[in-house]
């Protein structure tokens, strides 16, 4: 079990109580994590880990030192502070030093549910066994991953700031394959509330997609209109193509840089319906509300009605540019108009490819946030409002900025909580999209 607020504060108090340096920040994190992995319709590995880490950073004459320990005894914490102060005396001047934060006002998040912390082992084994049984019944080979993560973290400064928050998360993702290897489907969801994770649905959707993707036909590579499911959109947007980092943009090395040293803030870079918002309190998202630097979250429009409204600032860069520093990023992409369902996108499409998921996405040209990657676990050809047949996978090369540009976005769906299938647990809140053009550059034999 993770540390309570009282227990966490006791640790940070003890750390800061030993500090004799000019400035200092204390942190404590505790984790309780367990997993069950299955493949080939049988359990593979399953485990649990528990850990705590206390860390202190101090500054002596703007020279910084840090130390950490997993031992919360008085002696160990005092030793950590002494070590940090010794390191500070050895270190060069930290030219980006800013005084630690004074008391901040934090609006708490809602990403903790007690029931999620009480999932028991036999129940979990039973649920995953049911998912495997669904696979067996459908003549499908299932592989997947169930995890439960509990995390609590606190930090305190010598200038009087303190924050504590904790989060719970449970997730199940599953890949279903037909035994002959001709079909493969994927579905995954996570939530902070175990009651909101429908494990049966995850298995059902993965199995359905595997069955529906059998017998895929090869289509030529080229530019196609596409319907991207929310999973595929999350995979692309989590790929690192668009970090909205202000410093990189100001330094001329991002897709948000302009010739002459300016940035694209104030330009209509995206479809006028698109808003990109950071809001950790969005009920279905409910993410941490304090950044690693201790900066409180704020609901922030990075893109409003297609216009780049602001970028994201570290404390140091914000001070250099006279801006507000940014809290943690909770990625939401939504439309300012009512969203369409995926079914409606399909029914009104003359010709398009429906894409369930993308894989192995990497940047090829940071100047345009261009990435390459592949479709995976489901591509279908749509014609005159109907799914006609499954299609073999493609490699794509596509600028994310141009993908969302005015003129290329046809329909925008209703946002949903979905995590990148490659990136891990951190969820985004994004919709399905129907796009006029998407660049598939070669065919892949992979299923």
């Amino acid at each position: 079990m993770v540390l309570t607020e009282t227990a966490s504060r006791a640790v940070t108090d003890r750390l800061l109580g030993s500090v004799t340096a000019d400035d200092g920040v204390a942190f404590v994190e505790s984790e309780d994590y367990s997993h069950l992995r299955f493949a080939a319709n049988t359990f593979l590995t399953s485990g649990r880990r528990e850990g705590v880490n206390a860390r202190v950073t101090v500054w002596i004459g703007k020279r910084r030192g840090s130390a950490s320990t997993t031992d919360l005894s008085d002696a160990a914490l005092k030793q950590a502070v002494e070590d940090a102060q010794t390191f500070a005396k050895l270190a060069p001047v930290d030219v980006e030093y800013l005084p630690s934060l004074a008391q901040q006002t934090y609006k708490p998040g809602q990403g903790w549910v007690d029931a999620t912390s009480r999932i028991d082992l036999p129940d979990r084994a039973h649920q995953i066994s049911d998912a495997i049984a669904q696979s067996e019944k459908g003549g499908i080979i299932g592989a997947g991953f169930h995890q439960v993560g509990l995390l609590a973290r606190a930090s305190a400064t010598m200038h009087g700031n303190f924050n504590y928050e904790r989060g719970s998360l449970v997730s199940l993702k599953m890949t279903a394959r037909t035994p002959d290897g001709s079909g493969s489907g994927y579905f995954g969801r996570n939530h902070f509330d175990v009651a909101r994770l429908d494990t049966a649905r995850v298995a059902r959707e993965a199995i359905r997609r595997a069955s529906d993707s059998r017998g895929a036909r090869m289509l030529p590579a080229g530019t196609y209109p596409v319907v991207l499911e929310a999973q595929a959109v999350a995979d692309l947007l989590d790929s690192g193509g668009m970090s909205f980092d202000a410093r990189n943009a100001d330094e001329g090395r991002s897709a948000f840089s302009l010739p002459g040293g300016a940035t694209r803030v104030g330009t209509r870079l995206f479809d006028p319906r698109i808003n990109i918002v950071s809001d950790p309190w969005r009920p279905e998202l409910s993410k941490f509300t304090v950044s690693d630097e201790g900066v409180p979250a704020e609901t922030t429009y990075l893109v409003r009605n297609g216009m780049v409204e602001t970028l994201r600032y570290s404390r140091y860069w914000a001070q250099q540019k006279n801006k507000k520093p940014s809290g943690p990023f909770a990625f939401i992409l939504e439309s300012s108009t009512p969203g369409s369902s995926v079914d409606a996108m399909i029914k009104t499409a003359k010709r398009a490819l429906l894409v369930a998921r993308f894989f192995y996405i990497r940047t090829v040209d940071p100047r345009s946030a261009s990435v390459t990657g592949l479709t995976r676990d489901g591509v279908w050809y749509i014609e005159n409002g109907e799914i006609k047949y499954p299609v073999r996978n493609f490699r794509f090369n596509q600028s994310i900025v141009l993908m969302l540009a005015p003129g290329n976005v046809d329909l925008i769906g209703v946002p949903e909580r979905v995590a990148s299938s490659e990136g891990g647990r951190d969820p985004l809140f994004v919709p399905a999209l129907r796009l006029n053009a998407f660049n598939f550059t070669s065919q892949s034999d992979a299923v």
């Binding site: 994590y33 367990s34 997993h35 069950l36 992995r37 493949a39 080939a40 049988t42 359990f43 590995t45 399953s46 485990g47 649990r48 880990r49 528990e50 860390r55 910084r64 030192g65 840090s66 130390a67 997993t70 010794t86 390191f87 270190a91 030219v95 980006e96 082992l121 036999p122 080979i141 592989a143 991953f145 995890q147 394959r177 290897g181 493969s184 690192g240 330094e251 001329g252 090395r253 002459g260 040293g261 192995y360 090829v364 040209d365 100047r367 345009s368 261009s370 390459t372 592949l374 490699r395 090369n397 600028s399 141009l402 891990g424 550059t441 070669s442 065919q443 034999d445 992979a446 299923v447």
Partner: protein, 522 residues
């Protein structure tokens, strides 16, 4: 699958800054005290596991030290030093795995955690479909150190910082260079493994990753280009800093970053490629290294990294590449990142062929994988990246052997009418069965009529694994062979990062598809 977020991972490591000598002594004393007790603590776990009904158990009590220094231009951005100590107990109950781990290394905690591991295995065993069986492993008692000359943790912090700032200064002297980022990461793994088969193994491993990235920005055009270091991570000590020509390479990188701004953008099409080891290692990793993992072939990785086009029936039959292509798995090669004496199953490190004379011949295996294809022994590929994570199949060093003749890079270039010479790894991507890949690079040089003609840019080559290796018609000799590799090879759920090297000579490939990756924002 090489992780893209390495820099983030590195910067969020639990940090401490440079140790004073007295503190190093204290660390060493504490470590020695615990080391002496490890065997007794292991007995506690193994006895408890046996009493609770485990048919097999092991305990890893591991200490990981890491140090990272990151700089830009003439600033030190971060100095972090971390010690991470804990244990993990793995048990097999009724043919079902259970695992639990903790950072509190005491006998009481070991008893509690062993009970937890057994509870997990027992709960899951009620629903288990296929019972795990293990290939046998000999009982071993061993103590081993990796090949390094100078322990980087003994080198004073100011010397390391000065090295990086001097490197940055050398690059910044070139007109047109805008930014330089550099860093060095050192890792020391102190592994202890005890198994219920009676093995007791201690290993001490040093690895390092120095790197830099030079950026040239044209404010007028809005263009920017980068050139990253070519020297990759190695299982070497601080002598790697002292012996590799880092400063000369930084100056060269600076000139090349600026030159890339005005280089000729490639015309897409088919080209003969001459690929330097600093680029080819990553292609080997993705198309041959991961493709020959038996857990992928058996669909154990189907939910994450994927499966493999090398299905179990293809060993000894499938033509993987041209007859020149010999690819070897190797966990004994000195200075290679995945080199150990024993894996986390307690199986000795080995060397064996994966591809011989162009034919795919064998797999990477562990004790629980080998019996599934009728093998009596494991090749020793089990590894965990931490005490807190359960060990699972990981890639050994996988390398392309050099040609029999000592052919030079120039001789390979001389045989090309229209082609591209590629240095350094860039963007990388491959599908989930390892067919279709696309790789970029750091610098690209046009080859015309057998000679290097000038710099190109915006190049990526895209191919199908067997087509690509089948198109290999020239290998450099031993003198062109180099080791490169990755500190952040991602695989598994929960995700773990592996370290792995890939050695190869310069090599030539005929008529490979080349893309232009440049995209106009206007």
């Amino acid at each position: 699958m090489i992780r893209r977020e390495f820099l983030n991972v590195a910067s969020t490591a639990l940090g401490t800054v440079g140790l004073a000598p007295r503190m190093l002594e204290r660390e060493a004393a504490a470590a020695a005290e615990v080391d002496a007790a490890k065997s007794g603590l292991a007995d506690v776990a193994l006895a408890a596991a046996k009493r609770l009904g485990a048919s097999y158990a092991d305990i890893r009590i591991n200490r990981y030290r890491s140090e990272s220094i990151t700089t830009r231009e003439q600033q030190v951005q971060n100095v972090a030093r971390n010690q991470d100590f804990g244990f993990g107990v793995r048990v097999l109950v009724k043919g079902t795995w259970g695992f639990a781990a903790s950072s509190i290394v005491t006998a009481d905690e070991i008893r509690r955690v062993t009970q937890a591991a057994v509870d997990i295995a027992r709960a899951n065993s009620a629903f288990q479909r296929k019972r795990v069986t293990l290939a046998p492993a000999a009982r071993v008692e061993a103590n081993w150190k990796s090949a390094f000359e100078k322990d980087p943790f003994d080198v004073p912090l100011d010397i390391k910082i000065q090295f990086l700032l001097t490197l940055n200064g050398a690059a910044m002297k070139t007109a047109g260079v805008s930014f330089v980022n550099s860093s060095m990461v050192w890792v020391n793994e102190q592994r202890f493994l005890a198994t219920s088969d009676g093995s007791r193994i201690e290993q001490y491993i040093i690895r390092g990753l120095p790197q830099f990235n030079v950026t040239a920005v044209s404010r007028q055009t809005g263009d920017f280009q980068t050139r990253r270091s070519l020297g990759g991570p190695q299982a070497r000590g601080y002598e790697y800093i002292e012996k590799y020509p880092w400063r000369a390479e930084a100056q060269q990188a600076a000139e090349e970053a600026v030159a890339k701004l005005k280089a000729k953008s490639v015309e897409p099409g088919r080209y003969d490629l001459v690929i330097h080891p600093t680029n080819l290692w990553l292609t080997i990793h993705e198309s041959a290294g991961h493709a020959t993992e038996l857990d992928r072939a058996l669909w154990w990785e189907a939910d994450y990294a994927g499966t493999s086009f090398l299905t179990p029936d293809k060993a000894g039959k499938l033509r993987f590449g041209s007859p020149l292509v010999n690819i070897v798995a190797d966990r004994v090669q000195p200075t290679a990142l995945a080199t150990v004496a024993y894996d986390d199953d307690g199986v000795p490190a080995q060397r064996w062929y994966l591809v011989k004379d162009g034919v795919f011949v064998d797999w990477q295996t562990t004790r629980d994988l080998a019996p599934l294809i009728g093998r009596k022994k494991s090749y020793g590929c089990l590894n965990a990246d931490s005490w807190r994570n359960v060990a699972f199949p990981r890639m050994p060093n996988v390398s392309l052997e050099p040609g029999a003749q000592d052919t030079s890079l120039d001789e390979l270039v001389a045989g090309v009418e229209k082609g591209i010479l590629i240095y350094g790894d860039g963007s990388w991507s491959i599908d989930q069965q390892r067919y279709n890949f696309q790789f970029g690079g750091q610098t690209f040089w046009e080859i015309s009529k057998g000679k290097v003609a000038g710099m190109m840019r915006d190049v990526a080559y895209q191919s199908r694994s067997t087509d690509f290796w089948g198109a290999c018609d020239g290998l450099g000799g031993r003198s062109t062979y180099q080791l490169n590799g990755s500190f952040v090879d991602g695989k598994g759920e929960p995700g773990q990062v592996g370290v792995v090297s890939h050695g190869c000579p310069v090599a030539r490939f005929r008529q490979i598809n080349v893309l232009n990756t440049s995209v106009s924002m206007t």
